[in-house]
Chain length 209, copies 2
DNA sequence: ACCAAAACTTGACCCGGGGTACAGTACCTT
DNA sequence: AAGGTACTGTACCCCGGGTCAAGTTTTGGT
């Protein structure tokens, strides 16, 4: 019996989420049917509705899970960057480089804020989902902004930019990059756009030789 | 009879498109029903299917109309910019400023590439819609890239950036800005992000005093 | 070993919305 | 008088989301 434990860690609910994530990333929310998900997981329709009140609750759970994973990902990158350099500017530049490298490595397009993008799209989803996404994005703004404040204290910015806007820009470039990558079917774009953003940050803060 | 002519310029087909555009912008594609559109326009379901084979053909027509309007908008801005300054760099910077101002003026969020966002979302739509969007975005890349090549010829870039990526970045910032604006419910973000992009372009090309 | 809760299954059913099919009509143009 | 355009009306199919009630298996804790 004990040999069942490790596998049973992954519940059918998790499996539903994973299946939904893949399908939604591939085809979009509307094109993903509940039928399809349950046949993949191997349960019945009632089983689905046992776990989720409706389809939008699934999306909410998906978003929650995704946000947690994403937060962990970024935190990991920052931690690694910190070990490599503890100057605030260089830490951030290393973080951006690491992020860019990770993005290059992704086989298909970054799952990232596609879910965000998918969420804001449909009024079908209740307010709570929208707020979840908004809070997450505002959280990133705050976090990056704090870092820029630190950086600006040591490196006087060479042009007058609003540091909150600059913080937002990373989100913007990521989301926009995902859209362009997906539309044009060139997954390299996303990473290169993050690289460009990094150049912008450099040109603002890195002092001239 | 002649007094009917001017009003009849706007066909029911156009009215359907406009109603669909507003509804989709507001609630998303899936949440917009045909029923809803025809009651607003005042025709029957059969009337709808007389104009469009199915719902996705409506989206295609919408995209086509939108792309034309957008192209005209940008062309207008470039024309105005050219009359104000015929130096390639300053023309472009003026264009960006005008674009930013227009975006500030928008009451609700920019209709812009939301349609793009809506398109990449759904496998429901046939390939042709996807290609329409992709071609349009690649068109902008080409157009902006050509301008940057001109600019770079006169103003040696101070950092090494790929001009195609830089061209893409305007699209990216616009699309990403729309998403962030919508999610966080702050329509100012979009314009400010375009402003930031403008600063980036300046920092690359504008020579130092 | 036993019990309760969790995690389902079965199966029947409703409904809204996309979509089809087709016959008919009103008007406008040539 | 004919033909096209822009519809209306009716009737109908199907899929997918969602509900309901009642029963069954799995699992974890004491």
């Amino acid at each position: 019996m004990s040999f069942l434990k490790p596998r049973s860690e992954e519940t059918n609910r998790d499996r539903l989420l994973t299946a939904a994530e893949l399908a939604i990333l591939d085809k979009g929310f509307a094109a993903t049917s509940i039928e399809e998900l349950i046949t993949e997981v191997g349960i019945t329709k009632s089983g689905f509705f046992y776990h989720f009140r409706d389809k939008s609750e699934l999306v909410k759970a998906l978003l929650e899970r995704h946000l947690a994973v994403e937060a962990q990902w970024f935190e990991g990158l920052f931690a690694r960057a910190r070990t490599l350099d503890d100057d605030p500017l260089h830490e951030f530049l290393i973080f951006l480089r690491l992020l860019q490298e990770d993005m290059e490595r992704l086989t298909d397009v970054h799952p990232g804020c596609i879910i965000t993008a998918c969420c804001f799209q449909e009024r079908l989803f209740d307010r709570s989902i929208h707020e979840l996404a908004a809070d997450s994005l505002l959280g990133w703004r705050q976090q990056f902004h704090a870092k820029f404040v630190n950086i600006a204290a040591r490196y006087p910015p060479r042009i007058d930019v609003d540091l909150e806007d600059l913080a937002d820009m990373l989100t913007v470039v990521t989301d926009g990059g995902i859209i362009l990558s997906k539309t044009v079917r060139d997954k390299g774009i996303l990473a290169r756009q993050v690289g460009l953003y990094r150049e912008f940050v450099k040109s603002i803060f890195v002092p001239m030789e």
